[in-house]
């Protein structure tokens, strides 16, 4: 790629030889300078590089993105200097442009992709109309422009005609996001600023889009500024990376330096806090505390209240962002203790971690293979027996004039046993039916076929008089929702919310007794001072705190199983590990089983391995593979598990140059009309004719614990003699051999 940073000898601080954008002392302030949401940021962006900018929510990273287009939201004030260099040598002072010049500059030179594609399109206008109006206002030839738009859409694995003629809501989230990327490129801009463009999507789609971006970048000579909270995600794409903390850059440098040799304690702690597949579990650690709000930024170094290395110097003096290593002059870090940081905060992945890679696997595998201790013939805690959940879909306008209603097969014949104090992770893309299946297991969704049993009692046939009563089952199966903001009634205070479960479990307990129980549990889940929190409304809590309350609420029911539905994906990265640890600790304290739903293999792995549990991979309403985390990661048997493995970002530098995804189609097929035979055959890289005709069953593996539903496990299957499907590989090379 273009940044050949190590050889750079220019005077520019970032060692950038051909900058396309030079940002000098950019600040954004509100309330007449009282609130500063971006402070004195200076950076150069090289032509045709990918600059990844990483920061937690509220760190000012979005403000930086807006500043590049001089589009800071009112009434914010942007000061400093932003210089744009055209390819022909002209320079443009972005902040001095007139309104009309700025109108032309945006989208023609620098364009932007926002996080929420759904909210970036006018909901009452067809997608194609967005392209046309953009071309028209910029005086481009519409038919040529549309031809280019079709080319872009095709490069993004979309069917141009279908997408252009659709209304935004008719496309899936991943399709919308890709259409938005095409829209941002329709005027062939030089720079693409992307503000969390994939955060709302599941991991596989994120990685696929990043892969496509990589291709687009080289094909159209783009400069990309990619802003995200997800460090490992952008690491695969970026040439250089910058870490933003509390409205300033904490560290900036070449990607490999930042990942492998970072010098700022925040960067190093952030790397260690990121769940990934390479790090030994014991060393993943959360960062204590939260980033500061713009009104009370700490004096001196902004990170000192959370930094383990902070000294008096840090409290008093703000360290400048400067280069320190003469071998890497383009690596800059704002820290007084760069050397100590490198020594005292070891990274928990990469080379240092290699030795851990296979060592714990055996112990885990051995415990897992012996399985859960079963007590005689006791029925399992929960048993799903050939469960089916089919929904009738509300139809579009045209189909409504006739024909039978379409049926979505959300869950289609799934069987699963969950033991007492068991831990199972359901893993899959959005739309694979994992949430529906989870809710069916805890009795929130009535199955349309099959049965769910709780300790041998069908939960939909339980009543007040059965051995296991309906009320007992209801209390025993609890849930923690994905969005902690929506999971707490905004009109009730924490103490009222938490009193509710106690009314069920301890109906005769007095008010003071209830309060003291809540008080102690709040302290237990790490909310201090508990008294203060009890009187608050949900909107006065942070996302992580809300999730703790939701956890406490579920635990107060004394449940035997808790469904955690993507329960940490809405929590800031640096806090995820902490919440997961809390869940795991409480699981053993309260003797419950956990059902953990995720689209992220690294989270599922953390959970399953720590809790000594299994991961069940779901695809289009079916379980395609199940086993221990260790085996799924190192010895996946189903090609789909392999795909999810690929989609999980890694911090291993050798592994980083992303390969193409081992799938043939980016989008999940319509669950209304699932593919025949093996449902994965339309995307599977090694699918053959046999896969299209016959449906594989989930069967136990011969040589490893767990089960998989793939013909490739049977050496005598007709699969091996049939022809590969179009686009599929004949050999196994596409599947990485771990």
């Amino acid at each position: 790629m273009a940044t050949d940073s190590t050889q750079s000898t220019t005077t520019a601080s970032d060692g950038v030889s051909d900058p396309i954008l030079e940002i000098r002392n950019a600040s954004v302030s509100y309330n007449d300078g009282e609130t500063r949401v971006l402070e004195d940021v200076s950076v150069d962006i090289d032509r045709r590089e990918v600059l990844g900018i990483v920061g937690e929510s509220g760190s000012g990273k979005s403000m930086f993105a807006s500043a590049l287009l001089d589009a800071v939201p009112d009434p914010g004030r942007l000061t400093g200097q932003i210089t744009y260099h055209r390819e022909n040598g002209d320079t443009v002072d972005v902040l001095e442009l007139s309104d009309e010049e700025l109108r032309q500059f945006r989208w023609e030179e620098i364009s932007m992709v926002f996080q929420g594609a759904m909210s970036s399109f006018n909901p009452t206008m067809e997608v194609g109309a967005h392209f046309k109006e953009t071309l028209k206002t910029h005086d481009r030839n519409v038919s040529e422009g549309m031809a280019f738009a079709r080319e872009l859409l095709e490069n993004l694995y979309l069917e141009p005609e279908r997408v252009l003629n659709a209304y935004p809501h008719e496309l899936s989230g991943g399709m919308q996001q890709r259409a938005l990327i095409a829209l941002s490129m329709v005027l062939n801009p030089e720079v693409l600023v992307m503000d969390e463009p994939t955060a709302a999507l599941d991991l596989l789609m994120q990685r696929s889009i990043l892969r496509l971006l990589d291709n687009l970048q080289s094909e159209y000579d783009l400069t990309i500024v990619f802003i995200t909270h997800d460090l490992p995600l952008v690491a695969a794409l970026a040439d250089r990376m910058a870490i933003i903390y509390a409205f300033q850059f904490a560290e900036i440098g070449p990607r490999d330096e930042i990942i492998g040799n970072s010098a700022h304690p925040y960067t190093r702690k952030l790397l260690n806090a990121t769940p990934n597949l390479d790090a030994p579990l014991e060393e993943m650690q959360p960062i204590e505390g939260e980033g500061p709000a713009p009104v009370n930024v700490p004096s001196g170094c902004r990170f000192h209240p959370r930094c383990p290395l902070a000294t008096e110097e840090c409290r008093v003096e703000d360290p400048p962002l400067e280069s320190f290593d003469r071998h890497y002059p383009d690596h800059r870090a704002a820290c007084h203790h760069r050397e100590e940081a490198r020594e005292e905060i070891p990274l928990n992945f990469g080379e240092g971690a290699q030795q851990f890679d296979h060592q714990p696997s055996e112990s885990v595998a051995s415990t897992a293979s012996t399985g859960r201790p079963r007590t005689g013939d006791e029925p399992p805690l929960l048993r799903a027996d050939d469960v089916e959940v089919h929904f009738e879909q509300s139809q579009g306008l045209l189909e409504r004039f006739g024909g039978p209603p379409e049926v979505v097969r959300a869950v289609d014949g799934v069987s699963l046993d969950i033991q007492e104090q068991d831990l199972v992770c359901l893993l899959g893309e959005s739309g694979c039916g994992k949430t529906t299946f989870g809710k069916t297991l805890i009795g929130l969704q009535k199955p349309t076929g099959g049965a769910v049993e709780y300790r041998g009692q069908d939960i939909w046939e339980a009543s007040g008089s059965t051995d296991v009563t309906r009320d007992e089952i209801r209390a025993a199966l609890q849930i923690i929702h994905q969005d902690p903001g929506a999971a707490l009634n905004p009109n009730r205070r924490i103490v009222d919310i938490l009193s509710e479960p106690l009314r069920h479990t301890h109906p005769n307990v007095g008010r003071n007794e209830r309060r003291s129980r809540i008080h102690s549990l709040l302290e237990r889940v790490g909310m201090n001072p508990a008294d203060d929190f009890m009187g608050r409304y949900p909107h006065q809590l942070s996302g992580g705190e809300k999730q703790r309350v939701a956890l406490a609420r579920a635990l107060l029911m004394n449940p035997n199983a808790i469904l955690a539905d993507e329960a940490i994906s809405a929590v800031d990265v640096s806090l995820r590990i902490e919440i997961m640890d809390l869940m795991l600790e409480l699981q053993s304290e309260f003797d419950t089983s956990f059902l953990f739903i995720s689209h992220d293999l690294s989270n599922a792995r953390y959970f399953a391995e720590h809790g000594d549990g299994r991961i069940a991979v779901m695809y289009l309403g079916e379980i395609v593979e199940i086993g221990t985390a260790e085996r799924l990661i190192h010895d996946p048997r189903h090609p789909y598990t392999e795909v999810l493995r690929w989609a999980t970002p890694s911090l291993d530098l050798d592994d980083m140059e992303a390969s193409d995804p081992p799938i043939r189609e980016v989008d999940v097929p319509d669950p209304v009309d699932p593919p025949s035979g093996c449902r994965f055959h339309t995307r599977c890289p090694v699918a053959r004719e046999a896969c299209r005709e016959e449906h594989p069953d989930l069967e136990g593996l011969d040589d490893a614990p767990g089960k998989a539903a793939c013909f490739r496990e049977d050496p005598n299957h007709a699969y091996w003699d049939s022809e590969p499907l179009e686009g599929a590989e004949e050999s196994d090379d596409v599947l990485a051999d771990d």
Binding site: G58, R474, H481, A530, E589
Partner: protein, 340 residues
């Protein structure tokens, strides 16, 4: 403790059931908290909004007038109690002037205030409470209950309000203010019930309602604790609109002489003024204007009150005004929403 029998898990007892005196609350604390939450805070919030404050003052004026009548502090209206067609603000014994038969207009207005207020209250309460019951039940229950209720309310929505009221008024001759209020809003609930239903439909899907269901909370309790508080602002605004409709409909129908009446009231006064020459000469203009101002004033007060109503039920406003701390996240939200 006797109540502890059902908590089987022993670890839980040790870990988090430690007594902590700081969580204790005395009866007095609770009373104070109750006062704070249900009296002090709503009043502070309402008063902090200029519109609501003005609305409260206006409605207070009407209540005062009703009280004056109830306690007999002003003369009752009767013919020839004063010179005919006295203009307002000339004779301070009859501040609003008199009618062409020498009736004190202020006495007329005051005399019918309790009647009007009762009728308005009855109309508003009937229409909104029925709509809330119908909307929440059909929205939350769904299924056959929903289909049945929706069909019935569709039918009532299809009947034009005023003509039905006119026919009913002739059939029932309602003279009691409460009955009259109910008759006037006889099918007002249907449309309101439908829109409450669609709101409840979306609240029903909210995670916190699902969490309550998962805990086995009873449906009535979920409706009261989780659903109703979230539609309360909407309900209160519509209560005011229903009350406004009751005033307009009653006065309108009295005015065109369709509703049966025994005594005087604002609509009847307007009718008399209109048909007994008020239209043709400016000398009787005040006779027309006084009942009009009474009507508009009441409706205006109600609407002003409703403008700030949603704030009372908004926990964010509540915490902000009582000076409690806001979370970091709140600050973030304000910056991010300000972004676009």
């Amino acid at each position: 403790m006797a109540t502890e029998t059902d908590s089987q898990s022993s670890s839980e007892e040790i870990d988090w059931r430690s007594e902590s005196s700081s969580a204790e609350m005395t009866r007095r604390d609770r009373a104070e908290e109750f006062y704070r939450r249900w009296v002090y805070e709503p009043v502070v919030i309402a008063w902090s909004d200029v519109r609501t404050r003005l609305g409260i003052l206006i409605l207070g004026g009407y209540l005062l007038m009703a009280a004056v009548d109830v306690f007999g502090l002003w003369r009752n209206p009767s013919t020839n109690q004063a010179p005919q067609l006295l203009p307002p603000f000339e004779n301070w014994s009859f501040p609003l002037g008199t009618t062409n038969s020498g009736v004190d207009l202020l006495a007329l207005i005051i005399d019918s205030t309790p009647f009007i207020l009762l009728m308005v209250l009855a109309g508003g309460v009937w229409a909104t409470s029925l709509a809330v019951v119908v909307g929440t039940v059909s929205g939350y229950k769904g299924g056959r209950v929903d289909t049945a209720i929706t069909s019935v309310s569709d039918f009532f929505m299809a009947i034009p309000g005023l003509p039905l009221v006119i026919v009913l008024a002739i059939a029932l001759s309602p003279e009691n203010p409460i009955l009259l209020g109910v008759v006037l809003t006889i099918n007002y609930w249907a449309g309101l019930g439908r829109s409450i239903r669609s709101q409840v439909l979306s609240i029903r899907e909210a995670s916190y309602v699902e969490a309550s269901r998962t805990m086995g909370t009873s449906t009535p309790r979920i409706i009261v604790k989780d659903v109703l508080p979230n539609i309360m602002p909407y309900v209160m605004v519509n209560f005011v609109l229903a009350a406004r409709y009751t005033i307009f409909a009653s006065v309108g129908l009295y005015f065109i002489g369709v509703l049966p009446y025994t005594g005087q009231n604002w609509g009847v006064t307007l009718n008399n003024a209109y048909y007994q020459g008020g239209l043709f000469t400016t000398e009787a203009l005040h006779w027309l204007l006084v009942p009009m101002i009474a009507i508009v004033g009441l409706a205006f007060g109600l609407i002003l009150l409703s403008q700030g109503m949603d704030r009372i039920f908004n926990p964010r406003v509540r915490t902000r005004l009582s000076g409690e701390s806001e979370s970091v996240e709140e600050d973030e939200n304000t910056t991010t929403t300000g972004m676009f």
